[in-house]
Every structure is written in C-alpha cells, then in structure tokens.
Amino acid sequence: PDKMKSRIPVVLLACGSFNPITNMHLRLFEVARDHLHQTGTYQVIGGIISPVSDNYRKKDLAAAHHRVAMVRLALQTSDWIRVDPWESEQAQWTETVKVLRFRIELWASAFCSFTFTKASLDDPTELLRYLPQEEGRGQGRAVSPAPAAVPELKLLCGADILKTFQTPNLWKDEHIQEIVEKFGLVCVGRAGHDVKRYISDSPILQRCQHNILLVREPVQNDISATYIRRALAHGQSVKYLLPDAVIAYIKDHNLYSTGS
C-alpha cells in the first residue's frame, strides 16, 4: 500500500448506452485498474459509469432510468465503481467531452473552495463524495492512501469506441483532441480490433499517443449488450453474462422482450 503514496490518483469514467450493462463492461474497469496499478505511476481511486440519455436515440434503447437502475444494481457489490446519472438526466444528448468537463470542474471547484478539506484528502471515501452520490457508500471500504491533488479523470473505453473515432461525423475532431490531450484515454483491447492501427490511422490520436494507455484483456469475453438483448428476445438464458440482480430487474420490468 505504501508504494501507492506518490502515485497519480486517477478516476476512470466510462460512457455508453449500458443497454443493459454486462459483465464485460464491468471487466473493463477491473482490467484497466490492474493495468494502471501495474504501471507504477497511477493509483485508481474510483470508477464512474455514465449511461447516455434517452436523446441519444439509439435503436432499442431502454429508458434511462431503467439503464441507470440496472447499472446501480450491477455495482452493488463493487467497492470502487459508481453510477453517475447526470448525463442520463440531460434533456439533450451530451458529448462525451462535456461529461468529462462537468465532472472535473465539479472537483476543481470543490478543491478551490476548500470543500476538499484536509480530511477529505486523507480519506478517499471523502473524495468519492464528489463522485456520484450513492446511499450506503463508504461502508467498510478499505482506506487507501490519500491522493495529493484533484484526481486525473480518464475516459475508459473498449477498442470499439476507439474505432468509432474514425466514423465520419460521429465525433468532432476538437473533442477527440480535448479528450485525449486534456484527460487521457484508457483503451482495453478486444479480439478483432487492431488498436494500434486505429491510432496510427488518426493524426490526432497519434500525436497524443502518450496519453493513451492500451490495456490487454487477458481473458477474451465478448459479451455485447446486443447479444444479451437478442437472447432475451428469443427467450434464452442470459445467466452468468450479467449480474443476477440485473437479470431480475429486466424480468420484473419486462425490458427487451420482443415488441418492447
């Protein structure tokens, strides 16, 4: 634990539909945290899941409050990842870079206005207060060394997201630049995705390469939300692909059945 002292505190933020959240989404966080700790430079103090709002207008997108509820259920057993409903509650679709800005500005202002007290710096559970609010947070959490500053916020994504950076008109170049330059990217590789090529194909990504951390998932496991929705529509079992509590929620609210 002592070796964590001089490390840069990092919070990982993942954006996406989470329609519904799957074990693979949860794995991204675990794998990324392991990797960042292994670098010797970073200490991951928290993770945030930010589901997209209904105005993203993706096909088959369940209502945001359901998707947030499912993420919350999935995270019941995690002691470091939280759901942030802010983005999902916005009336309009919010660009990912704005989600990152909102979060970092909130921390910065709390830091400047001394809301980050000495105590809050000594106790990461206090810092996590500036992560999305959760009931029952902080209970029994192991106290790890305090961060020395406002944490760095990095966008956590799978290789598929990195690929979409190349899709015309999906991302603004200046947004990609800001995400990678100002915040940084933690990208978890996936079978069938040549992450190195995505980077070399994009001048912006190539320029900011030092801010992109590539992580290898040691266990291939491609549980996509699309696969889950299809299986559910076919009346097939999805057990062990996502947490039991989420499956129970889907059944109770009759989500993703045919015709919904």
Partner: protein, 284 residues
C-alpha cells in the same frame, strides 16, 4: 402444455473445474436452451462432477476445494448442482463410468424409491430426493411408470476434439459415450466440430446422438487463464461468481506452488490407457 413424448434429460459435465468459471456455467444454460428448443427433450437437471485428485493434472488443487467452489457457484442456480461421487473416488474414473453411475442412479430412483448404495453426502442426497418427489407429485399422480431421464454428457468442443488424442480415451469408451448416452457439445460458431465428427467413423455413426450447440460470442474464460491471472494478482472479478472469488482469496488457493502440483506426473488416463496398449502389444 407439456408434451408427454419429450425425453427428460440430465446434463452431466465432467472436468477439473479448477476453478469453476462463468463459462462452465454458461455451457449448461446454452445446452438447456438448445435441447428444450428442439421440442424433443426437456432438460430437468444439470450435474457438475469435478474429477478426483487421482486425475493428476498439472496444477490440480484438492477436490475438496474444487467441489466447494462448484457448490458455491451453483447456489443461485435452480437446476444445476454438484455431485461429489466422482471426486471422492480413490482412483481416476473414466467418464463413461461416471455416466453409467448417474444413469443407474436415475434408474434406481425410477423403479423404487429406495436409495442407491452410492457414496454421497446426506445433504445433497436429501435435496435430490426432495426434488424428485416434487417432480413426481406434479407430473405423475397416477402410478404409471415414467420413462427414466437420460443422462447426456455436456462438453465444449475441446473435449470432442480430445477424442482424437492418442491414449486419452479408450475406443470402446468413446463408442459407449456417444452411442449409449449422447453428447451435447457447445462449439464456437464456425468451429470445426462438424468436420471432426465427419472425419471420425465412430462419431459419424452416432451423429444423431451428438447435439452441437452454437455459441455466437467469444467466451474464453478458461480455468487456466483464471489461475494465471491469480498468480499475477490480476482481478478475476466477473469471470467467476463472486462467492467463488471470495473463497479462492480466503484460502489463497492458486499460486506458483499450486501450479507445480503433478508436474512431471503422467495424466491418469494416459497412464492407464498407455499401459493397456503396451501390454496388449507385448502379448500380441
């Protein structure tokens, strides 16, 4: 609603389960959905049967722990459970014999409600008996004798392909398994399982008894990879059930030392079958 013609099936998975992973558990779910969708079968139960320590596989930790982990993993399942018979045998037991054991057990239950003389934990036995009586209460109120459920071997494509490994399986056992019991084999879509069956005479002959189930997503949560991640202090969260992860951590089950178990020891089936082949050759 229920079609009385449907054959009731019990799915049996044999293996090391060192440790059990979400992938093992998925095999059962996929197989059940597939078999039930055929309209000909009704899967009534799944059994995880961890191999005994005498199997002598590299890195195999004690059956005691592997059984407990499998039990923890199936706690939330309404239809899959763990059977300890195989794991409790002093000698390694051929899979064909494990199938026979479970089929005979079902037949014994079918004829009379008398307990079969098998080594089993009383708790487990009671649970099984209760389930059976529930089933029979619901489905057969009249004394008319019901068909005994059929045990089928549940496996991944790797097991099917291991039939081709010299001395790992006895030829008569392969014929016995596919001919008398049947296989439900989960394969990656586009996998060569079909070709493998085509190229084997015995599998080809019994292909009606081999049910190939397509898995459309990559799900490579092998126990080997789990153990490797553990040795490297990497997270295995969401790859195995939470209770299994906690148990592994609490007992510090997998380490560089545990991986050295049985190193240099020949796998029990290879030992037995090679000896048999050799003695046959020398007598001949």
């Amino acid at each position: 609603m229920e079609n009385p013609q449907k054959t009731e099936v019990v799915l049996l998975a044999c293996g090391s389960f060192n440790p059990v992973t979400n992938m093992h558990l998925r095999l059962f779910e996929l197989a059940k959905d597939h078999m039930n969708a055929t309209g000909k079968y009704r899967v009534i139960k799944g059994i995880i049967s961890p191999v005994g320590d005498a199997y002598k596989k590299k890195g195999l930790i004690s059956a005691h722990h592997r059984v407990i982990m499998a039990q923890l993993a199936t706690q939330t399942s309404s239809w899959v459970e763990v059977d300890t018979w195989e794991s409790l045998q002093k000698e390694w037991v051929e899979t064909a014999k494990v199938l026979r054991h479970h089929q005979e057990k079902l037949e014994a239950r079918g004829c009379e409600q008398q307990d079969s003389p098998v080594l089993e934990r009383p708790g487990r036995k009671r649970k099984w008996a209760e389930q059976r009586s529930e089933l029979s209460q619901k489905k057969t109120p009249e004394p008319q004798r019901k068909d005994v459920p059929k045990v089928k071997l549940l496996c991944g494509a790797d097991l099917l392909e291991s039939f081709g490994v010299p001395n790992l399986w006895k030829h008569e056992d392969i014929a016995n398994i596919v001919g008398d019991y049947g296989l439900v084999c989960i394969t990656r879509a586009g996998n060569d399982a079909q070709r493998f069956i085509y190229e084997s005479d015995v599998l080809w002959r019994h292909q009606a008894n081999i049910h190939l189930v397509n898995e459309w997503i990559t799900n490579d949560i092998s126990s080997t990879k789990i153990r490797r991640a553990l040795r490297r202090s990497q997270s295995i969260r969401y790859l195995v059930p939470d209770l299994v992860q906690e148990y592994i951590e609490k007992h510090n089950l997998y380490s560089a030392e545990s991986e050295e178990r049985n190193v240099g020891v020949i796998l029990a089936p290879l030992q037995r079958n090679t000896a048999a082949t050799n003695s046959r050759t020398t007598t001949a």
